[in-house]
């Protein structure tokens, strides 16, 4: 058995005739903390969805722990905040508990005491103790993201995929989320899609740059050449507050 958590080989994803990803080859080692950056529409979310089996794979393959097409039950997923209806009538605890539902459709399913204990434990772990019965409409952006992380952790995943968990989050909560992810990385592989280049420079162990195809995969230090190829506009990046130290050359 190899030490690869995820093996992506020559992956292409098309939505109709439109290519979202072409020819992506990417390995993620067990225990790795991989950051994925790229422009909007560059295929970052599509890559996560392909790993989860939610995007149509046109060519290529994805193996999870050497298992072709299986093993998705060991992946936790934290989706983008923007996709949620925050007015939905549900409490923080209820959201986290949804992760404890059985697969399939089980009539008259009731959560066990053990499920409740796990949910409370994870809510405490992500720093939301005391907010269990709060409606999601009353949560801040940071609290909402932490709730989604807690929900993903209920699956006891060995791999955690996160799609822009620090978007719509203030500076303080952002730091808390990164600390939490660093803590979680001791026990699991993390793949983090982000626009936050601070994370790239100081948090992740490896970096992948994606814009329709894999442009770079390696150490989390970006050269000007890579940024140019990825975004086509390094000046714009600097204007968004890119720490200079992530760029080897200027």
């Amino acid at each position: 058995m190899s030490n690869k958590a995820i093996q992506i080989e020559n992956l292409s994803v098309y939505y109709g005739e439109t290519p979202a990803l072409t020819g992506v080859c990417l390995d993620v080692e067990v225990g790795e903390y991989l950051g994925i950056i790229g422009p909007n529409g560059g295929g970052k979310t599509t890559l996560l969805k392909a790993i989860l089996g939610l995007a149509p794979i046109t060519r290529g393959s994805i193996k999870i722990y050497d298992n072709d097409g299986k093993g998705k039950e060991i992946i936790g997923y934290v989706p983008q905040y923007a996709g949620f209806d925050k007015s939905f009538p549900i409490t923080l605890l209820e959201v986290v508990m949804t992760g404890r539902l059985k697969n399939g459709l089980t009539p008259f399913f009731r959560f066990r005491h053990k499920d409740m204990e796990i949910a409370y434990e994870l809510i405490e772990k992500v720093g939301l103790k005391g907010l269990e019965n709060r409606q999601i409409s009353e949560l801040s952006g940071g609290e909402f993201q932490k709730m989604l992380i807690a929900r993903a952790l209920t699956l006891k995943p060995r791999i955690l995929l996160l799609d822009e968990p620090t978007a719509n989050v203030d500076e303080n909560a952002r730091g808390q989320i990164y600390n939490l992810l660093a803590e979680l990385n001791k026990d699991m592989t993390i793949v983090l899609v982000t626009h936050d280049l601070f994370a790239v420079s100081s948090q992740v162990g490896k970096l992948a740059c994606i814009n329709g195809k894999l442009i770079y995969h390696g150490e989390p230090e970006l050269s000007e050449n890579i940024v140019n190829r990825l975004y086509g506009c390094p000046v714009d990046l600097i204007a968004h507050g890119v720490p200079h130290r992530v760029l080897r050359t200027h």
């Binding site: 998705k72 989706p79 009538p89 539902l101 697969n103 699956l155």
Partner: protein, 268 residues
């Protein structure tokens, strides 16, 4: 009116219709509002007109025809939506118009004078028959049982369908099941308020309940009770003022919702 209810079978049937209509619109209304499926429900409701026309043409109960057409529309809309490639708006609009067109066509093909279809289009709760009632009882029981049995699955599906799918919940089955339940609910509501006014009765009690409580289960219970109040009040108004029952229920429900909405806004 109480004396009249005890005395007349048609008023007893009307009251029972109010109860069953409130149960289905309370449960399904809350779900379709959260799932943003109101227009899709409108499409399914209007498609049922084709079934009413076919019932008259072939000489069977028009409500059975409406039931069959609604179910077919629900499955058709669900299938095309899941296959992708076209906007659900387009599919809904086409089914909506096709059902109405088929209804008109079937009625035109009937020999002799055309029947009065206004009770199906605008509802007449006072003309509910035994067959209608049996169908309503069966549908209300099925809707309540299906939602109740899978309540936790429905909640996960409504909040985050993608995550529900990732953890292995059969979201495709829930999708179709929900559309079929909507189709069944539409059939119950047709006799109360008619095809054209169905959307108001699906939306108003659930929307009012959303203003009053924050929990999903409470919203469903409130929505059922509010629906019952709207239906009985509308029926009472129509009885005393000799107005069309479906229109009275819908107008009362809509104005009540608006009043509660404005009251809530003023308090903020």
């Amino acid at each position: 009116m109480i004396k009249a209810v005890i005395e007349y079978q048609f008023l007893q049937n009307a009251l029972l219709t109010c109860i069953f209509a409130s149960i289905v619109c309370g449960i399904i209304g809350v779900i379709i509002i959260e799932k943003k499926m109101l227009m899709m429900s409108g499409g399914i409701a209007h498609t049922s007109y084709g079934g009413v026309g076919l019932g008259y043409l072939l000489g069977f109960e028009p409500i059975i025809g409406a039931f069959i057409f609604s179910i077919c529309a629900a499955i058709g809309i669900g299938f095309i939506k899941r296959k992708g490639g076209t906007h659900s708006d387009i599919v809904i609009a086409l089914f909506w118009s096709l059902g109405m067109a088929l209804g008109v066509l079937f009625i035109a093909l009937m020999p002799g004078y055309p029947p009065n279809l206004s009770s199906y289009l605008f509802g007449n709760i006072l003309t509910v028959t035994k067959v209608d009632l049996y169908l309503m009882i069966a549908i209300s029981m099925i809707v309540t049982a299906v939602i109740g049995m899978l309540y936790n699955n429905w909640k996960a599906y409504l909040f985050d369908e993608e995550f529900a799918s990732i953890i292995g919940i059969k979201t495709a089955i829930l999708d179709y099941l929900l559309l079929i339940l909507v189709a069944m609910s539409v059939v119950v509501l047709i006799r109360a308020v008619g095809i054209i006014l169905v959307l108001a009765l699906l939306a108003a009690p659930a929307a009012t309940a959303s203003l009053l409580c924050k929990k999903l289960l409470s919203r469903i219970i409130y929505s059922i009770l509010i629906g019952l109040i709207y239906c009985i009040a509308g029926l009472w108004i129509s009885y005393y003022l000799d107005l069309a029952s479906g229109a009275s229920i819908v107008i009362f429900a809509t104005f009540s919702y608006l009043l509660i909405f404005l009251n809530k806004k003023n308090k903020k």
